[in-house]
Structure formats: structure tokens, C-alpha cells
């Protein structure tokens, strides 16, 4: 029993807690991708850089608040700055839509043209973020660092392994649940949300029913601003902020959205957690866990690691390919335009 609990703590520390946190971040990112895909009907390559932009604005205001001496006590100040980050990002996205995307929407351009256009937007946003905040790593987490201290845990329970739970991990999961619940309430219960879903299901029918497409698009971009900024800030609090890392998040986020079924919000969440758990589980060395769980004779000599941690992108990619080959519309039945 003692051994089992020790193994469980190790598993929680290195697999379950990090994967749940990462999964929440991916799910929020994938929700944004899936919304753009459902309403605007293209894969937005600028998504990772939108996350970086929102996070950057939040960081700048966090620094401002810190210099004024404002803080949230045990919680990171970034949570206070996040609404401002969302508003600025929303304005920026609406500006890009007005200047760039709307022209192609009116023309009814092919989705692949919009993807190339989003590559141009990606360049500009990427350059802008690097221009303003630089390419370096930024840590902007303040507040209490840990909720469960591993040493205190060891003392209290008498186990050999200490459970560690950081504040940012709890904040990530709680915020993600709140945001997702609010999003689903909005999509399912409000008039605007319903018109969005109608527009996504059948554009022509929605237009016939008097739904204003420009209003739907505006709401979509605002929702995307919320989702990207929250996802980016949570990722930055949990790990750290670096523009290039955010650009690279594009792949696991796309994988999550596609695996769940593009255009399907529920699928984006499922996909996010599937990708996150696979990434962590495949690249984690299970030696320590098995040391506790297996009987003395069967304990492994190697690391019991399927792949090196550097290959985590290969994992999200492999899931993506397998799902696309066997179930092209994704696990949760997305659309294929």
C-alpha cells in the first residue's frame, strides 16, 4: 500500500498534474482555432502569434501594475492585467479583420488563400511581438508559488515521495473550466451564440434567417481574443513566455483541434487533453513509478521511456496523422469543408 501510494504521487507529480495543466492550455488554444474554422472557414496560422500578442500586452500591464504596487496577494498580478490584454487583443484582431480578412470574405476566396493571408498576418504579429518585447524569455509570475509543498507533504503523510502542486497549475485548470463553461453557456443559451452556431452549420440558411454575418464574425474575433489571451497567459504563468515557443504551440494546438474534429468545440477540449496526455506519457520515463508498483524481481533496468522528451512534437503529429487516416472528421465528428 505504501509503495502504491508512493508510485501514485510520482505519477501525479510528473504525468497527471502537468498533463492536465497543459491539456487545459491546449484546449483553450484549440477552441480558438476551431471557432475561426467554424465561422470564418480557414485554419488560422497566426493563432500562436495571437496568443503571444495577448500575453505580451498582459505582461506589459502586469509590469505597470507591479510598479504601482498593485497586486492580488497570493494570486499572480497577471490575472488582473489579463482583461486589458483581452481588450487590446480583441481590438487588434478586429482591426486585422477589417483591414485584411474582410476583403477576402466578401470575395468568397478559397480557404487556402485565407490560410496564406493568415501567414502574412502571422509574420506581422510575430515581428510586432518581437519588436515590442524582444525574443528573450519573460517570467511574470508573482504571488504564492506553491499550494502543496512536497516537503510538508512528506512530513505530514510519512511517504517517501512528496506531492508538489503549484499555484499556477490550479489557476490554469480553474480558469480554463470557468472560461469553457462561460463559452458553452454563451454558445448554447444566448441569442448571439445560437446565431453563431447556425452560421457555422449552414451559412446560407443563417443568412436567409436574417443573421447578420458581420456581427457573427465580430463576436467570433472577440471570443478568439479571450481564448487566445487566456490560454497564452496561463501557459506563460505555468512555464514562461517566449515568442518562439508560442509560435511552436501552433502544431499541438492544430493537432488538438483536428483530432477532436475541426469546428466542434467539445472536440477541441477532448483533443487538447488527448494530445497533452499522450505527449507527457510517451516522453516520460516510467522507471520510478514502476519501481514502486512492480514486485521486486520485475523492476525495470532501463528508463522505460518510449521516446526522448525532444520528440514531443512527433507525438502530437503521430496522433494527428493516425486520426486523419482512420477518422478524417476527427473523434468528435467535426466538419470537413
Amino acid at each position: 500500500m505504501h509503495d502504491f501510494l508512493n508510485g501514485l504521487v510520482v505519477l501525479l507529480n510528473y504525468v497527471i498534474i502537468p498533463a492536465t495543466t497543459y491539456g487545459s492550455q491546449l484546449a483553450l488554444g484549440a477552441l480558438g482555432v476551431t471557432l475561426v474554422y467554424g465561422i470564418l472557414r480557414f485554419s488560422n496560422f497566426a493563432h500562436g502569434d495571437t496568443m503571444a500578442f495577448g500575453t505580451m500586452v498582459t505582461i506589459l500591464f502586469t509590469w505597470l501594475f507591479q510598479s504601482w504596487g498593485i497586486s492580488l496577494g497570493p494570486l499572480p498580478t497577471a490575472l488582473l492585467a489579463m482583461p486589458i490584454g483581452i481588450v487590446v487583443t480583441a481590438l487588434f484582431l478586429l482591426g486585422t479583420d477589417r483591414l485584411v480578412y474582410r476583403f477576402y470574405r466578401k470575395q468568397k476566396a478559397a480557404p487556402v488563400i485565407l490560410v496564406i493571408v493568415s501567414m502574412g498576418v502571422m509574420f506581422i504579429m510575430n515581428g510586432l511581438v518581437r519588436f515590442i518585447i524582444g525574443t528573450g524569455e519573460q517570467n511574470f509570475d508573482d504571488g504564492t508559488r506553491v499550494i502543496i509543498n512536497p516537503f510538508a507533504f512528506k512530513d505530514a503523510t510519512g511517504l517517501d515521495q512528496g506531492l508538489a502542486l503549484r499555484t499556477t497549475q490550479v489557476i490554469t485548470v480553474v480558469t480554463a473550466v470557468v472560461v469553457v463553461a462561460a463559452l458553452f453557456w454563451f454558445l448554447n443559451r444566448t441569442r448571439s451564440g445560437k446565431s453563431m452556431r447556425a452560421f457555422s452549420d449552414n451559412e446560407d440558411l443563417a443568412l436567409l434567417s436574417g443573421i447578420n454575418p458581420e456581427r457573427v464574425v465580430t463576436i467570433t474575433w472577440i471570443l478568439v481574443a479571450i481564448l487566445t489571451t487566456v490560454a497564452g497567459v496561463l501557459y506563460g504563468l505555468d512555464k514562461s513566455f517566449k515568442p518562439f515557443t508560442y509560435f511552436q504551440l501552433l502544431l499541438p494546438i492544430f493537432a488538438s483541434a483536428v483530432v477532436g474534429g475541426l469546428g466542434n468545440p467539445l472536440g477541441a477540449i477532448g483533443g487538447g487533453f488527448l494530445v497533452a496526455y499522450s505527449e507527457v506519457a510517451v516522453t516520460y520515463a516510467f522507471k520510478l513509478v514502476l519501481k514502486y508498483w512492480l514486485p521486486a524481481g520485475l523492476q525495470p533496468s532501463g528508463l522505460v521511456q518510449l521516446m526522448g522528451t525532444d520528440y514531443k512534437y512527433a507525438v502530437s503529429f503521430a496522433i494527428l496523422i493516425i486520426v486523419l487516416l482512420f477518422k478524417p472528421t476527427g473523434l468528435f465528428k467535426g466538419k470537413s469543408v
Binding site: V112, I124, M125, G127, L320
Partner: protein, 453 residues
């Protein structure tokens, strides 16, 4: 003004731009831009085959370029007999076991009747194959990587230089000649990888293909960064040979004939030796570019090219006319990737080193796309023009942006932190400029500078 005149004047304009850079900055800088511009033009030709001819959206250009570059390591470096003796020969066997397991699993999946047994058997084959592969592969890799890790630790060249040496050439000449073989081999490696990619991902819709190729490129770079036995990973392979007959600057500066020439023309031997070397590269790469361009033009104007464009414009109609769309897509994807691979090998040759960490998607994938779109999708001359022009701008935006920023910040007091920040960030202006150029071209001239005929 007819279209030929317009196109010629566009190329003349680009030549003038390089000339201005030569006069105002230095001929070394201008020639360096020209060499990389020529390489970029070849890459752009490859992307244009996939996108312009066939409408295939490949966002994994970086991966194929890097695989092409790998050819320089495998072909143009000396053989390391010690690595093979230590068990290096087990590495290909291990890889073959892995590949065989996957092939067997695919065969079983296709042959066996549907049902739970099939799934169980396939998974069992894959697990057994994986365990066997790791059992053979891991010890061999550790043995190879343990040999002299500070300068070696990889399997080295595959022996072309060794064969040439045994034909009576000096080691230096043998390596320099091998470089010529490395370019087609780079194309072949990239084509092989592209075939695998095409087999799995080409049936996907356009934006799924984009996401899939984006992922493949990242994975290729990760492999190149981590598999030290292959290319020393992040420890990099440096000191790659030059293609015969391009000399080293140091050797030129010691040659009496060269020094006499410099003296009679009143030139600085150091500057002029470096210019001579770059001119050598320009000559060789111009020949390669001309060759690829001619072949691409011939292909485009042949019945095959017309068929490709017909498939691109209407897949269903072409299929109804009896064209094998899937096969044609596979063909053109592999061909385009081969061209990208050749260009990747040329780039590694020119930089003289293989550094996996330099491969960044913005520079190696998305910039190439800007070249193709700005030049004119579907037009080979456009791809060449785009390659030269966009590379010129990519390099020159930085000093121009710097000048502009100095002008803007001039009235600010120098104590302001904003001034220092702005002056330090000018290097990032090139990303914004490229994005702006792409968006403007897409908006106001979507068919590019030299549109498809």
C-alpha cells in the same frame, strides 16, 4: 509594353538593386546576397512545382531543405572506419527492423479481415518490432557516439570520398568532388522523405496537408537535432568542403599568380580573394539554377504540365477524363521536394557547416512562400524573380530599417530607454516588412509580379 518586355525589365530592375548594394555597401555583401538569392530561387522553383503546378500546399519546406543539407554530411565528409567497426553497421539494421515492422503491420492491416483480431495482431507486431528495434539500435548508437565525441561521434561520410581517394585522388580533392554528388543526393533524400509524407498525408484536404507538412518539418528538425550518430546533432558539423574548383580564401592569398594579379589591378588581396570565391559559387549555382529552370519550364509546357494544371484547376473533371489524380499529386510532390532538397544541400555547401538549430520555419518555410507568391504562383520565372528579390529585401530591410529608426529617434533625448529599445529592435522589422509585402501583393496583385500565362 508587352509582357516579355515587362518581365525582362523586372529582372533588370533586380540586377540594378544588387548593383546598387554593390556600389553603396560592398561587392562582398552584394555577391553574398546573390549566392543565397540563387539558392532561394531554386527552393522557390521546388515550391512552385508543388503549389503553382498542382496546388499542393506544402508548409514543410524547412524539413526538406534540412534533409538536403544532411546530404553534405553524409556524402562530403570522410569515412569513419572506427565508427563502423564499433557497431555502426547495426544502426541501419536496427532502422530496417523498425521499417519492416511498420511495413508488416500495414500489410496485415490490408490483408486480414476486419475485426478485433486484426487490431490485436497489428498492435502486437508494432510492439514487438519496437522492442527489437530499440534492442539493436540503442547499443549501436551509444557505441558510435562514444567515439571521440568532441569532434566526431557520428558515422561520418558514407564512403564516396573514400572510393575517389582509392582511385588516386588526394583526400582534399576527393571531398571537393564529392560535393557535386552531395547536391543530387540531397535531392534524393528529400524526395524519399517526400514520398513517405505523400503516401500518408497527400489524400488530406488542403489545410490538413498544410498542418501535416508543418508537423513533419518540425519532426525532421528534431531528429536532426537529436540523432548525434547521424549528424552530431546540436554539436554541428563544421568545416564542410567547398565544391571543386572553388578555392579557400587563404590558399588564394598565398598563391603568387593571384597576388600578382591583385597587384597589377591595384586590388586588396583579402577582399578580392573573398570576391573571387563568391564569384565561383555564383557561376556554379547559376548553372544549377539554369538547369532546374529549363527542366521545370520544359515540364510545364509539356502535355504533363498541362495535365497538372488541369488537375489543379478541376480535380473532378480531370478524374472523369481518366487522369490518376492521386498518382500525379504524388509525382509532383516528390519532384518539388527533390528540387527543394538540392537547394538545401547547396545552402549547406555555401555556409560550409550543417547547423540543425539554424532551421527556423519563418526563414526556411514561410519566407520561401513569400517568394513564390510575390514572384507569381505557377510561373517559374516568377519564382526565380521572387527568390532573388525577396532575399535581397530580407537582407537589406535590416540596415534600411536601422537608418530609418535612427532618423525617427534622432530628436529623442538619448537618456530615454525607448530610444535604445527602438534602436535595438530594428532587426525584427524584417518580419513585419515581409508580412506587409505578402499581404499587399495578395490584395492588389494576387497573381504576383510575373503572373502565370
Amino acid at each position: 509594353m508587352n509582357s516579355t518586355m515587362k518581365n525582362v525589365s523586372l529582372f533588370v530592375g533586380v540586377t540594378i538593386l544588387f548593383g546598387i548594394a554593390g556600389f553603396l555597401q560592398s561587392w562582398n555583401v552584394a555577391l553574398d546576397m546573390l549566392v543565397v538569392g540563387l539558392i532561394s530561387a531554386v527552393t522557390a522553383l521546388g515550391v512552385n512545382m508543388q503549389w503553382g503546378y498542382a496546388g499542393l500546399f506544402n508548409v514543410g519546406v524547412m524539413g526538406f531543405s534540412a534533409l538536403g543539407g544532411l546530404a553534405m554530411v553524409l556524402v562530403a565528409t570522410p569515412l569513419r572506419p572506427a565508427a563502423w567497426a564499433a557497431g555502426g553497421w547495426l544502426i541501419p539494421i536496427g532502422l530496417a527492423i523498425g521499417a519492416a515492422a511498420i511495413a508488416l503491420a500495414i500489410a496485415i492491416w490490408n490483408r486480414m479481415p476486419k475485426g478485433r483480431t486484426r487490431g490485436v495482431v497489428v498492435v502486437a507486431v508494432l510492439i514487438a518490432g519496437f522492442v527489437l528495434y530499440r534492442a539493436v539500435f540503442d547499443p549501436a548508437v551509444s557505441a558510435v557516439e562514444a567515439i571521440n565525441p568532441s569532434s566526431g561521434g557520428n558515422i561520418g561520410g558514407l564512403g564516396l570520398a573514400w572510393v575517389l581517394q582509392h582511385l588516386g585522388l588526394s583526400q582534399e580533392t576527393a571531398l571537393e568532388l564529392s560535393v557535386w554528388a552531395a547536391w543530387p543526393v540531397g535531392g534524393a533524400i528529400a524526395a524519399g522523405a517526400a514520398w513517405l509524407v505523400a503516401k500518408t498525408a497527400l489524400g488530406l484536404r488542403s489545410d490538413y496537408l498544410a498542418i501535416a507538412t508543418l508537423g513533419i518539418a518540425e519532426i525532421i528538425i528534431t531528429v536532426l537535432k537529436n540523432e548525434d550518430w547521424l549528424d552530431r546533432g546540436v554539436k554541428n558539423v563544421i568545416g564542410l568542403p567547398r565544391p571543386w574548383p572553388v578555392p579557400l580564401e587563404v590558399n588564394l592569398q598565398q598563391s603568387h599568380a593571384f597576388l600578382a594579379l591583385c597587384q597589377s589591378w591595384g586590388l586588396n588581396p583579402v577582399t578580392f580573394s573573398s570576391i573571387t570565391v563568391k564569384l565561383g559559387y555564383v557561376a556554379i549555382f547559376l548553372v544549377i539554377l539554369a538547369l532546374v529552370l529549363t527542366l521545370a519550364e520544359l515540364a510545364l509546357k509539356s502535355p504533363w504540365g498541362r495535365m497538372m494544371r488541369a488537375i489543379r484547376d478541376n480535380e473532378d473533371a480531370s478524374e472523369a477524363m481518366g487522369k490518376d489524380v492521386k498518382r500525379r499529386h504524388l509525382q509532383v510532390f516528390v519532384l518539388g521536394a527533390a528540387v527543394i532538397g538540392v537547394a538545401g544541400a547547396m545552402m549547406t555547401t555555401y555556409s560550409g557547416q550543417f547547423v540543425p538549430t539554424t532551421y527556423q520555419p519563418l526563414r526556411w518555410t514561410f519566407l520561401i512562400w513569400v517568394m513564390v507568391i510575390v514572384g507569381g504562383s505557377g510561373n517559374n520565372w516568377g519564382a526565380v524573380l521572387g527568390g532573388l528579390l525577396i532575399w535581397f529585401l530580407w537582407v537589406e530591410v535590416e540596415p534600411l530599417g536601422d537608418m530609418l529608426m535612427h532618423l525617427i529617434t534622432d530628436p529623442m533625448p538619448s537618456a530615454w530607454p525607448l530610444k535604445a529599445h527602438l534602436l535595438n529592435s530594428t532587426q525584427h522589422m524584417r518580419l513585419m516588412t515581409m508580412g506587409l509585402i505578402l499581404l499587399l501583393v495578395l490584395r492588389f496583385s494576387p497573381r504576383g509580379l510575373i503572373p502565370e500565362k
